[in-house]
Symmetry: C2
Subunit: 339 residues, 2 copies
Amino acid sequence: MNYKYNIALDAMGGDNAPKKVVEGLRIFLRENKETSFTLFGKKKEIEECLQKCDLSKNQSIFIEDCEKIITNEMSVRDSIKLGKESSMWRSIESVKNKKCDIIISSGNTGALLVISKLLLKTIDGVDKPPLAGLWPNKKNLSIVLDLGANVECNEKNFVQFSKIGSELYSVLFDKQKPNVGLLNIGSEEIKGNETLKNTHSSLNQTNNNFIYTGYIEGNDITKGDVDVIVTDGFTGNVALKTAEGTANYITSEIKNSFSNSLLSKISYLISYPVFSKIKKKLDPRNYNGAIFLGLTSPVIKSHGGADGYAFYNSIKLSSKILRGNLIDKIKNNFVNGKK
Amino acid sequence: MNYKYNIALDAMGGDNAPKKVVEGLRIFLRENKETSFTLFGKKKEIEECLQKCDLSKNQSIFIEDCEKIITNEMSVRDSIKLGKESSMWRSIESVKNKKCDIIISSGNTGALLVISKLLLKTIDGVDKPPLAGLWPNKKNLSIVLDLGANVECNEKNFVQFSKIGSELYSVLFDKQKPNVGLLNIGSEEIKGNETLKNTHSSLNQTNNNFIYTGYIEGNDITKGDVDVIVTDGFTGNVALKTAEGTANYITSEIKNSFSNSLLSKISYLISYPVFSKIKKKLDPRNYNGAIFLGLTSPVIKSHGGADGYAFYNSIKLSSKILRGNLIDKIKNNFVNGKK
């Protein structure tokens, strides 16, 4: 059978690999038959997991045996030294060689970004490939980029991020001209630096695949009025981690309060069905997968701590990106310049 | 009667002024008799509020009639033009003239920072006065600075923020050598910019009023292991607003879930006592008041939307700062240099 897409999976990255990778795959295969998968990693371990998941005889799964693993603790330098023998390197290489169309890894972020840049070409017109992520808001989901690939960004980078983020949003949420906001800080007089001011005026003049709506502040991200939020990798990463920390703090306060007396425990039991719905809705596993964009192939970074369900969501995201032909759309955008 | 301290209140700043200012004052006066207050603003309006709060005959309250008000919508330029006649300007001036010891305003942040810098001297050795704020965490409260006064900061600024933040933490929480962390981003290879790397090595060598514990990430802020978190005003402001937005998003999701069916409404009623405790604990009014430090007098910025209870917390904070002799401690720290 011919498969429409082939997804490369670094089966050894992050916690509980390859188990979670195979479990994620099992969920995905229930709903999708048009994709094949090449799993890069320790063959024996992968085969054991496949057997446990009743996937041993699945025709859409291939294994490429790799003995070496890039761990989370490794420096990028050491990861590169380990090089061609590692599951991460080889899965990225399979995309370079056109054997696969997209690669997903839960492994070492630094190594993934650097090796991807090393092996895959940058799309003409893109200076710094950004890392984009899905961010839940009161209405649906936004895209925030850059989440940490580029600490320092200039006006040109921000305009490029706006285009790339908008193509991604269009593909994922089927909206022709998404809104783009530039992340900045409050009060008029102390507003932003020169780079942001220049970007603001550039974006106002850019006639492209998005509608620029101006500056937004940190508290606007979750309001859901802006589809694509553009910022540098330093600010984006701090914002993302701060949001995670805040969510964790609030939920732990709620948990503590509902468990510190018999009466509160009973209240919790009664409210359990509601809490269960809330938990499901706010579950960060739903948005698992940061998208490294601007290279000739997309690279998906699953959370290191992702479980099977979270990994499944990364596969689903990858599949959407392939079906939406995202990379070609980004290429066209940059080739055509201003539309 | 002689009062130990005199607090200047810009009675006209922010929403619902001067009502909330007087209401906050009423709560504070129940527990404190050693402080007098000078309220700057429209005399008639203030007197009406005082009457409603049974404070008309209170001997510790003085009024300075000011006809003009700096609104939130005004640019800093226009605020300065309005100048000496405005309640904000005159309340800051009263601190400059040593008639008051500290000033609190819920008004226009940009105007407050700029007029304060214009009227009050900077402490010798401080290059850029930072805006510090209390940040709740799993154990207690941390201090984060800068929250938005200085968009661009260098290594020297960061070291100064560490000293200033630590003096503030010592005064508020009675801890001799607080821990200081430098806000940065994740993965080793993409970690921070040159300024942060230089600051990191400077702080490691600084023997001062704090213990430097290294880099921390956004999600560490709420863990509560670090007392003072140092960052630039841009990142600090984005982090703060993002945390506010996240908290708002989560609580609104919870509210929605508990009100979308009869059963969930009943669950809510049963759990109400627990929710009420959680609400009280997470109430942002508890931490109301950003502290503008590094000038020869402290300036407190209350949230524009603060109500009486929130404003009361700003007064309480101001009182702690005065009793702890914070400004002299900061001055001494900078005069003595390395201890």
